[in-house]
Symmetry: C2
Subunit: 402 residues, 2 copies
């Protein structure tokens, strides 16, 4: 791989202003990492030179929660006439997959490529593991990860979409998934879906302990039910010494319980470094990002499913997700919108454990150029990605894969 | 103006499927209106022929509530560090305008052109009238309306952003505005901003009666305060025989009062044909679109401000507003998303009183072509506007003004 010199870009500055800095810099990339960043760099021999045209350089965007295996991205339009409950959506998807033989490999690849074209270079995806499909979806997504290994860093969560208790054999499949390439153990709704919160969580935590892997649990349960499940999760995180190894996705309950109860849970989450992933849905209570962060809890962002049998919405554009996080949290000030961007950049990379992240020397050379004067403008205007570089390779120009 | 023949487009069909129809049609436009729609039309002499390429044809999009005079669209980025209250935002804007001499004419023109390029051909804008600026903003927006008269149908609401009671002279300015080209009388928050709901509403209704013009009132007040103001509005609408002449914008209170109280208000609104305009903000309670429509109340969509000193968000893309309405109301099924689109097309045109609207013979020839298989896809994917026709003229191609 030749060195790459990206000339004439603006770095987002980290002071309170969040304007692009006044001085354009050049960025020299060698061996897939940032080598030098500064004004008027010299191009080494054999170097490819790109003119940034004064664009703003963001680090590669990060998706902390999606479901690549479910998507219908690029397929003929799926007519959604599904009922309103979580179980309606789970059952509908199972029937639909049985009827169509959904190709998780092709679909996850199509969506992952769309993510790359929109500047996302690191991504955590949940992959359905159940007794109907076995590890079929996992194998499809593993193939996609392999195909894109040079361009995208991908974490895979082994996710029992139908619960781990209801269908005997699921636990063994999760175990096999974690031996076959999945990095993280998933789970969901210990009360509302599993129906036996203690046994479900004991099963999941015990499996994670055996594999020494992190947990990332979907918690859709509202109000006091969700708070109860969250309490059980925190108890086990503490008792088993899993500080910093547990993520709770959605955590809607933190948006609709009393503030004092919420704050008590947030204090425990901060102590145990339990991360919250929010999709910031406009139609549900959500964990308030500012209050969670003020309590010391890390909150990062993700889409959840994108254009699948669950929902027609979602987009591989993580700047759009940052905008939705901003809108949901009524972030209007520039400093607030910078927090929304942080949810899909630095904070997300750190929370997922994606290393060598950022725009400093030695970081993996993931870079997104956008025509924006400030970080806030990048989020609200979501300009086309002028250039996307991943691990030192140009992977897209003007929103189109290179 | 030469006749225009747009060949090979799909019409969104109105049955429950909301797929594009299977048969491509041609659309013949003469003298600014739709003349014939059907397969394989013959081009009359001198006709301009456009190939639609199988795209979906939507009617021109409709913006039912924006503030063209406030926008900073196209200007250097405005750093927002404004406080959280409505009065903070009103005061900040007044100070900012005094300091900068904001040019409402240039700015409203820039944003209106962006609306056109994104397919919006009819638009209702509120224009600030106050004792600082007098009618300056109105004159700016009137100039924009004049400049775009051949391309965009625009309604202007004379809007007392700082209230009609607090600053003596405002009522006279509103009166003058309505004699100078404003079509509709605006107002806001009779309790929270005006501080004297009875006197404020009596002043506004009396002024509207003198001019025989409709009212479009901002009602941000939450919960029981908002319900109280809404009750006063409905009393006056009934007593003064203003059925079908009153719009309530925002009406947040309908999203956070008890269902039985809400439904009682909705029944009265339906009887009086009071229209609700929603921006569907993700961070506030909102009138639930499905419940309002089920009660017979018309609900339509708008942005509110777009990239101004109040908010960095908003977009001249009304398909994005439809998406946000869908997300806020958890509309996932295709038939639900068709309702979200209706809020920025047919329902909005009818509620605002924009006539000759639609895709039928004799309608004003406003047409938007997008690459989408279904109405739902048009909303969630928001494809670039391949072609925009307004009153028979091509005004934009591929998102760029023609």
């Amino acid at each position: 791989m030749n060195p790459l010199l990206v000339r004439n870009v603006q770095l987002p500055v980290s002071d309170a202003v969040h304007h692009a800095s006044d001085t354009a810099v050049d960025i020299l990339i060698e061996k897939g990492e940032f080598q030098r960043i500064g004004p008027n760099l010299e191009a080494p021999p054999g170097c490819v030179v790109e003119d940034g045209g004064g664009a703003m350089a963001l680090p590669g965007l990060v998706e902390a929660h999606t479901h690549l295996d479910k998507t219908l991205w690029g397929m003929p339009w799926y007519r959604n006439e599904v009922g309103p409950n979580l179980t309606d959506r789970i059952d509908n998807e199972r029937r639909w997959r049985a009827a169509t033989g959904h190709d998780a490999r092709a679909q996850s690849l199509a969506l992952a490529r769309a993510f790359l074209a929109a500047g996302t270079t690191r991504l955590r995806t949940h992959v359905d593991i159940d007794t109907d499909a076995g590890l079929r979806h996992l194998h499809g997504v593993l193939a996609t990860r392999e195909a894109l290994a040079a361009q995208m860093q991908m974490q895979i969560v082994a996710f029992p979409q139908s619960g781990v208790l209801g269908r005997p054999g699921t636990e063994a499949l999760l175990d096999e998934a974690l031996r076959s390439g999945a990095d993280i153990l998933g789970g969901l709704d210990p009360c509302a879906i599993e129906g036996d919160p203690v046994r479900a969580l004991d099963t999941l935590f015990s499996l994670a302990q055996r594999h020494g892997c992190p947990l990332d649990l979907h918690l859709h349960e509202p109000g006091s039910m969700g708070a109860y499940s969250l309490d059980l999760i925190l108890q086990r995180t503490a008792a088993l010494g899993m500080r910093g190894m547990v993520t709770v996705s959605h955590a809607f309950c933190l948006g609709d319980i009393a503030e004092n109860e919420r704050d008590a849970l947030l204090r425990r989450m901060a102590d145990l470094d339990v991360v919250i992933v929010t999709t910031a849905p406009p139609s549900r209570p959500v964990p308030p990002v500012a209050a969670c962060r003020a309590a010391g809890v890390r909150v990062v962002g993700g889409n959840d499913g994108i254009r699948d049998t669950w929902t027609p919405y979602g987009s591989p554009d993580m700047l759009e997700r940052a905008m939705l996080i901003g809108l949901r949290n009524n972030f209007r000030r520039d400093d607030e919108i910078a927090v929304a961007l942080d949810c899909v950049t630095h904070a997300a990379a750190a929370a997922c454990g994606f290393g060598r992240y950022g725009l400093a020397r030695g970081d993996r050379a993931d870079l997104v150029l956008v025509n924006a004067q400030t970080v806030a403008e990048a989020v609200v205007a979501r300009p086309v990605r002028q250039l996307v570089v991943s691990a030192g390779r140009i992977v897209a120009r003007n929103g189109v894969p290179a």
